[in-house]
Symmetry: C2
Subunit: 303 residues, 2 copies
C-alpha cells in the first residue's frame, strides 16, 4: 500500500528535476523559491519556484503544493466525489503545476499538471500536458504528440486516444471557438476501478518525467529563430487568449482561488504581458492566419 507521503515526496523531487533541467537549458536565470502556508484555517501549503528574465524563459513557474483539511461543500461538489452523503470529510491534495512563458514568440508556451487527491477511500490521480505555440509548427506538434503517445502506450493502448480527446475538450476557449493551442493529454479520476494506486502512480510518474526532455528539446530547437516586432505583437495577442482560458475556464485556477491558495502562486500561469486589440484579424495568407487553422479539436497529430 502506497502512502500519500510517498506520492507528495515524489512530486517534490519532480519539481527539483524539472527546475534543474530548465535552468540548464535557459543558461541565465535561476528559479527563486517562495514557501507559503495556506490561509483561512486550511492545512498545508506549497513551494513556488519562479524563474524570470532568462535567456529563453521570460517567466516560468514550477509549483509544488500539498494541501489538506476539511472539504467544503464547494469542494465536494467540484470534485464529483463518490461520497454523496454531504457529510464532513477530510481531503488531501498534492501536485506539481508548471507554466512556461518564453521570451521568443517562436518558442511555445507549455503547461503541465500532475496531481493526486485523497478523500476518505477515494484516491485519484489526474494530470495533463498541453502545448500552446504562438506559431504552430507541424513538425514540433507531431514530435510533441508522439512523445505523449509513447508515454501513454507503455501503460494502456487506449490512453493516448482517450486523453488526447479529453485535452481537446478541456483546453478549449468556447467563446472564441478555438482551442488554446495544439492540445496534448488530459486525464482525471484515472481508472480507479481498473488499476491499483501503484500502477496509476507509475503512469503519472512517466507523464511527469517526460516533461523536461520534451520541453528542453523544443526550447533548444526554436530559441535562436529570428523574429521581429510583428511576431512579438502576435505573441501578446495569443497570450491574451491564454489569460482568457485560465481565468474563465481553468478548473485548477478556480480550485486554487476557491480554496484560499496563494494568488501569486496560482496566477503565475498568466503571462508577463498580454494585449487585446479590438477585433484583430490576421492578414490573409499570413503565418498568423495559418496558426488559427490549427486551433481546432480533433486534429490527428499522430500520423
Amino acid at each position: 500500500m502506497i502512502a500519500k507521503e510517498e506520492i507528495s515526496s515524489w512530486f517534490r523531487s519532480l519539481q527539483d528535476d524539472i527546475c534543474q533541467a530548465i535552468e540548464a537549458e535557459d543558461g541565465k536565470a535561476k528559479f527563486e523559491e517562495d514557501n507559503w502556508q495556506r490561509g483561512g484555517g486550511g492545512g498545508g501549503g506549497g513551494r513556488t519556484r519562479i524563474l524570470q528574465h532568462g535567456n529563453v524563459i521570460e517567466r516560468g513557474g514550477v509549483n509544488f503544493s500539498e494541501v489538506f483539511g476539511v472539504a467544503s461543500s464547494f469542494l465536494t461538489s467540484q470534485l464529483e466525489t463518490q461520497n454523496k452523503k454531504q457529510e464532513t470529510t477530510n481531503f488531501f491534495a498534492t501536485g506539481v503545476s508548471i507554466v512556461m512563458h518564453p521570451q521568443s514568440p517562436m518558442v511555445p508556451i507549455i503547461h503541465m499538471n500532475v496531481r493526486y487527491f485523497e478523500s476518505g477511500n477515494d484516491k485519484w490521480f489526474g494530470g495533463g500536458i498541453d502545448l500552446t505555440p504562438h506559431y504552430v509548427n507541424e513538425e514540433d506538434a507531431k514530435h510533441f504528440h508522439h512523445a505523449l503517445k509513447n508515454v501513454c502506450d507503455k501503460h494502456h493502448t487506449t490512453y493516448y486516444k482517450e486523453f488526447k480527446k479529453w485535452a481537446d475538450e478541456y483546453f478549449f476557449i468556447t467563446h472564441r471557438n478555438e482551442t488554446r493551442g495544439i492540445g496534448g493529454i488530459f486525464f482525471d479520476h484515472l481508472r480507479i476501478n481498473e488499476f491499483s494506486v501503484q500502477e496509476r502512480f507509475e503512469f503519472v510518474k512517466d507523464v511527469g518525467n517526460c516533461f523536461a526532455p520534451l520541453y528542453v528539446s523544443l526550447m533548444r530547437k526554436n530559441k535562436s529563430l529570428p523574429y521581429t516586432d510583428k511576431e512579438k505583437q502576435w505573441q501578446n495577442i495569443r497570450r491574451g487568449r491564454y489569460v482568457e482560458f485560465n481565468l474563465v475556464y481553468d478548473r485548477g485556477t478556480k480550485f486554487g482561488l476557491e480554496t484560499n491558495g496563494r494568488a501569486e502562486s496560482i496566477l503565475m500561469s498568466l503571462p508577463p504581458q498580454a494585449n487585446w486589440n479590438y477585433n484583430y484579424q490576421p492578414k490573409k495568407g499570413s503565418a498568423e492566419e495559418k496558426t488559427l487553422t490549427y486551433l481546432k479539436k480533433e486534429i490527428d497529430w499522430d500520423n
Copy 2:
C-alpha cells in the same frame, strides 16, 4: 404603461449622447460602429462602438444591446427570476455598457452599465458606475461620489448609501482582498414592489445622463498631468487586476459569454495591454503603495 421599445430606444439615444461627449473631449479619435446579430438561434443583437488610439482614450467601448428569446435554465437560475416553476419563458434584455481605458495612467478607468430586463411579468432595472483610478486622488474620488449621491438623493434618501455599499461588495477582487477601484454605485432588481416602471426608469435615466459630464470632467482635469515609464508600468499592473476582475467575477461578462454574445463586444472591457509581475510590491512610501490603501470597502467618500 411604458413599453420595452421605449426603454431600448432611450438606451440607444444615451449611447449616441455619450459617444458624442467623449469624442468631443478626446479631440482626436472617432467611435467606429459594429452591428452584430446574436448567434446560436437567439434573437436580437447589438450596436458596438469602439474608439481607439485617441488623445485621451487608448480604447473605450460604448455598447448598446437588445437581446431576446427563450430563457435557458442557466439564464433563469442566474437571474433569480420570480418564476420558480422552471417553465419555458421568454426574456428581453436591453442596456448600455461602457468601459474607458485612458492612455494616461493619471486618468482613471471608468465603467457604467444600465440595463432593463423583462421576463413574463417581471420587469427589472439594474446598473452601476464605478471608477478605477490607477492612482487614487482623494479630490477626484470625492467629486465622483458626490455626483453619484446627488443623482441618488433626487430619487430616494437611502439609494446612495445602499448602492454604494453594493458597489463595494460587487467590485471586489476576493483573491486579492482588494476592491477594483474606489467603487461607486451598483443596483439590481431596483425596488420592484415600491416604484412604478416609469419611476424606476427615471432613476436609471438620471444615472445614465450623469455619466458623460462626470467622466469628461475627470478627463479634462487629469489628461495633461505628466508621467513617466514608472507610472505606465503601474498602470499595466492595475490593468492586470481589471482583467482578473472582469474574467473571474463580473456577472455581465459571464452573462454575455453564456448567452452567445459577441466575444469582441463583451471583451472590449479588457484593457489594450496588461502586465503581471510576479509578487510585485510597491515601494514603501510610494504613490503606488498609497493607492493600495484606498482599495478597501467602506471608505466614506461623501464627507
